[in-house]
């Protein structure tokens, strides 16, 4: 009962706030919709710029900044030039540090931070493996402590565990049951609004596919 009231309240609050600021919710939703059409680093940067613009206009909202950082992390994964990867992550780092101040109790922020550390690690796994896998693991730990049900934190944890299993020659497939369970329960997690982070299902599907 309590739960129902709570969820109704959440829905109401989000509806109310949406009604209050259509000029924020509409372009945000529209910009989010453009994620699916990104084909290149330049497209992703264009998208990131839009979120930056919204973030500049809406200084109290953390979500535009979140997506801005997300775009730049994804750019570092898409970019082929090693030297550029770090410069994108430098941009992401600034936004993430701001995010942690704006929304210190938001699990999504720390899940994204973990993703960011993984980005740093990927640039040079031999040199950075030790330090950044620890940092990434700590960020996941913070995210799961704030919200043990956060599917993105769970997904990143499975990815990381499988990665280090592969590196150390143990069987990464031992994490497959976890991945399958996460995929099956993915849709149980309801983002607080349609603007909240909702990515990661594709990646879990990929992991599960790799298990077969």
């Amino acid at each position: 009962m309590k739960k129902i009231i709570l969820s109704i309240a959440v829905v109401l609050i989000s509806l109310v706030s949406m009604a209050q600021k259509p000029e924020y919710y509409e372009p945000m939703g529209e910009t989010l919709g453009q994620f699916s059409s990104v084909k290149s680093v330049a497209d992703m940067q264009e998208l990131g710029n839009k979120f930056q613009m919204i973030a500049n206009a809406e200084t109290t909202e953390w979500l535009p900044l979140y997506y801005h950082a997300h775009c730049y992390i994804l750019m570092s994964f898409m970019e082929q030039d090693v030297a550029k990867k770090d410069s994108y992550l430098d941009v992401a780092e600034k936004s993430i540090n701001k995010l942690i101040e704006m929304a210190p109790s938001e699990a999504e922020v720390f899940a994204l931070q973990s993703f960011y550390f993984t980005g740093r690690l990927v640039v040079n796994p031999m040199e950075r493996g030790q330090e950044f896998s620890a940092l990434s693991g700590q960020a996941i730990g913070k995210a799961l402590a704030l919200d043990p049900t956060n599917p993105r934190a769970k997904m990143l944890k499975i990815q990381m565990d499988m990665g280090s299993a592969r590196f150390f020659g143990t069987d990464p497939k031992s994490f497959c049951p976890q991945a399958k369970e996460l995929l099956a329960s993915w849709d149980n997690f309801k983002p607080k609004s349609h603007l909240y982070p909702n990515w990661g299902k594709d990646q879990v599907e990929g992991i599960v596919k790799g298990c077969e």
């Binding site: 710029n49 090693v82 040199e127």
Partner: protein, 721 residues
């Protein structure tokens, strides 16, 4: 009435629709290149776009009145201009200036090998110090794979650019380390006292260094210890020669690590053939505590303290007593403390303070001689820096170095006591000025006063760097460097002045895609070198500053982590031409510690399927000279060339268990470091001699490193992999 109002509103609205303002233009760099991907928007609105591949942007806005157009792109200074939106088309071309960013800006590279900054292209990382075959986990051993250094197998110390080993200083977290090497017998190689695992970053400067560093004629090695550990852990190391346990406890803003180790070379030396005869193989016990505490959001306090005891007895030929084997017994006790505090004072001021304390005692028995040498040294330095702007940093500070050296020698029942105490007070200031992100100049000066020698010096320093292209730069360094004469002379005289070397360094460096090439030309002018004018070394008047010398050469360095997948290699070559007239030299001559040609080739390869990181290192130094007192030519004899092929293999057995194997000189090249002679001739007028050999032809290390954490998957990858 109502209708009128409505129609007016309708008109107004439609007018509004038809009077959209179009804002368009082009974004380019100062040099005219277009900038795609820049963000152009009206501040505080959602109206904006991104520039296309031609740098062009175009967007519409329904807004009216004054708004600020912002154009931003990462790595460039943001542009903004107030526009009056009236429903027409506004054309505006925007030129963005490259933002000044110290990370991307040119850095002074003449004479320096810097490592540890994660984002910068680095030449040698702390991890390299551990994984370089041949280094066997010794900081100084690893540095000998870099250009500018000459391997002296009978010493193990650093010899840089035609300089003697005393001309190099080591600093930990900004504080001078007075006794950086372990104590050994004459002509026996030593190692550094500190484990490379302690350090996160290093800077090895082989010339032209900052005014912050004095009392070094040739080089400074700056070691920065690890910051906060990631979590609680227990590290266990088992080596053929000893065991070590280190426990780390972390809390919110600090951490403490306690380390205990015990080494005994007896079992190993019984197993592997040795060139020396040991009565008691080297044994050492070490305890250390390292503490770190964040003092504020930006501040960090570090403290390190260690207690060392080592002893051995080796049988050496007593050439002054007919060459019979005689026990050389040494016991060393060393106490070392090092503290540092770095923080910001207010918005802009930054303070770096460091202190160290050393108490070192060597107790030596050889034949009828018993010598006790004691060093007590205190060091204190504080540096303040103030950035007037991003492009102008001013730094100044003071330093106090107090040292007491005493020697008590009992020779055949007669006691000789000698000691000296010196205080060196220094002040320095330095300004670093960026004319642009392409051109930087560092200008500074240092003053020093040593009370024991009653001498005052002024030492100017100047270095610059200029970026010729995105990837390449040239750098110049010039300076005067002073250093007090060696302790063994100061024991007997205060009639001498500090020695001086002037450095002229020109370097070129180019790096791209994990490849780096560096070439450096240098000239060093030595003056005021101390000369010993007679055999009566105990007379203060036997010494003067009339010596001089020079060293010039070329250093080449090439590192490539890119061309071979999983592979990483570097090649160092140094050419040195050095001569000097100092100490007991009868005239100017090539000193025995320099090799004309020095080559080091290092290769490492990660083999994923075997979870292994093997490495190989080949070293060559052309023959050095040595003096045979039986010959009329001073320093006229040549040693064998130095050659060594070293291998190492790290194997990650589990996430937290690493096995490590290393072998030096696997092919068994014969290395010999000249001959050592009796101090006086025998009855037939000949000086007796014996060959100086390494302690063994080959050297092996086999070890296992285990890390235990709560998380269960950390390892000492940084250590050994």
């Amino acid at each position: 009435m109502k209708r009128t109002v409505i129609s007016i509103i309708t008109i107004l609205i439609s007018l509004n629709v038809f009077s959209q303002t179009i804002i368009m233009g082009k974004v380019s760099e100062e040099n005219g290149d277009v900038l795609p991907g820049a963000s152009a928007y009206l501040k505080g609105t959602y109206d904006g776009t991104t520039s296309n591949e031609n740098g062009e942007f175009k967007f519409k806005s329904n807004k009216k009145g004054q708004f600020t157009l912002a154009v931003e792109f990462m790595g460039y200074e943001p542009f903004s201009r107030i526009l009056d939106l009236k429903g027409d088309t506004i054309r505006i071309n925007v030129t963005l200036k490259e933002a000044f960013n110290q990370l991307n800006a040119v850095t002074i590279t003449a004479g320096t090998f810097e490592a540890g900054d994660k984002k910068r292209a680095v030449t040698i990382t702390p991890r390299d110090m551990v994984t370089t075959a041949g280094a066997a986990g010794d900081v100084y051993g690893a540095l000998q794979s870099l250009p500018g250094t000459t391997t002296n197998g009978e010493s193990g110390r650093l010899f840089v650019k035609g300089g003697d080993s005393e001309e190099s200083q080591t600093y930990i977290d900004g504080a001078l380390v007075s006794v950086p090497y372990n104590s050994t017998a004459p002509n026996m190689a030593t190692r550094g006292r500190f484990s490379p695992f302690m350090f996160k970053g290093t800077m090895f400067s082989t010339g032209g260094y900052s005014a912050e560093y004095g009392q070094a004629l040739s080089s400074v090695l700056l070691l920065n210890t690890n910051d906060m550990p990631e979590e609680d852990q227990l590290d266990l190391s088992f080596l053929m020669v000893g065991v070590e346990a280190a426990g780390t406890k972390k809390w919110n803003s600090g951490a403490i690590t306690g380390t205990l180790s015990y080494n005994n070379l007896k079992p190993y030396m019984r197993l592997v053939p040795q060139n020396y005869h040991w009565t008691n193989e080297p044994e050492s016990t070490n305890g250390a505590i390292s503490f770190r505490q964040k003092t504020s959001k930006t501040g960090m306090f570090k403290f390190y303290s260690s207690l060392d005891n080592g002893n051995f007895t080796v049988r050496q030929k007593n050439l002054d007593a007919g060459g019979q084997l005689t026990d050389y017994q040494l016991t060393n006790d060393n106490v070392f403390m090092n503290a540092s505090w770095n923080d910001k004072l207010g918005e802009k001021w930054a303070i770096n303070s460091a202190a160290s304390f050393t108490n070192n005692k060597d107790d030596i028995h050889f034949d009828q001689t018993h010598v006790v040498k004691k060093i007590q040294a205190n060091y204190l330095k504080s540096t303040l820096s103030y950035p007037f702007s991003e492009k102008f940093l001013l730094k100044f500070g003071g330093e106090l170095f107090a040292k007491t050296f005493s020697q008590n020698a009992q020779i055949s029942g007669v006691t000789h006591d000698n000691s000296f105490t010196n205080h060196t007070f220094s002040g320095f200031t330095e300004a670093q000025v960026y004319a642009s992100s392409k051109f930087v100049t560092r200008i500074g000066a240092r003053v020093e006063y040593s009370d024991y020698l009653n001498s005052f010096n002024f030492a100017p320093r100047l270095s610059t760097a200029y970026k010729i292209t995105e990837k390449s730069q040239i750098s110049l360094a010039y300076g005067w460097f002073y250093q007090n004469p060696v302790d063994d002379y100061l024991l007997y005289t205060d009639h001498i002045k500090p020695e001086r070397a002037d450095h002229y360094t020109f370097s070129f460096q180019s790096s791209a895609n994990e490849r780096i090439i560096k070439a450096e030309l240098y000239y060093k002018d030595y003056r005021n070198l101390v000369k010993l004018t007679s055999g009566e070394f105990y007379l203060p008047t036997s010494y003067n500053n009339s010596g001089s010398g020079y060293a010039k050469g070329l250093d080449l360095f090439w590192r490539d982590k890119k061309s071979i997948k999983g592979g990483d290699y570097w090649i160092s070559y140094s050419y040195v031409d050095a001569k000097r007239d100092y100490r007991n030299f009868p005239h100017e001559a090539i000193p025995s510690f320099t090799s004309k040609h020095n080559l080091s080739i290092v290769y490492k390869h990660w083999i994923g399927s075997l979870r292994s990181y093997p490495g190989i290192n080949f070293k060559y130094s052309s023959p050095r000279v040595y003096n045979d007192p039986n010959s009329t030519v001073f320093n006229g004899e040549k040693m064998l060339p130095y050659r060594s092929l070293d291998v190492s293999w790290s194997f990650l057995y589990r996430q937290n268990i690493i096995f490590y194997f290393a072998a030096n000189n696997i092919t068994g090249f014969k290395n010999e470091f000249g001959r050592t002679y009796a101090s006086s001739p025998d009855v037939s007028g000949n000086y007796q001699s014996s060959a100086v050999e390494p302690s063994s032809n080959r050297f092996f290390v086999l070890g296992c490193f285990i890390t235990l954490t709560r998380r269960g998957n950390a390892n000492q990858l940084d250590k050994i992999n």
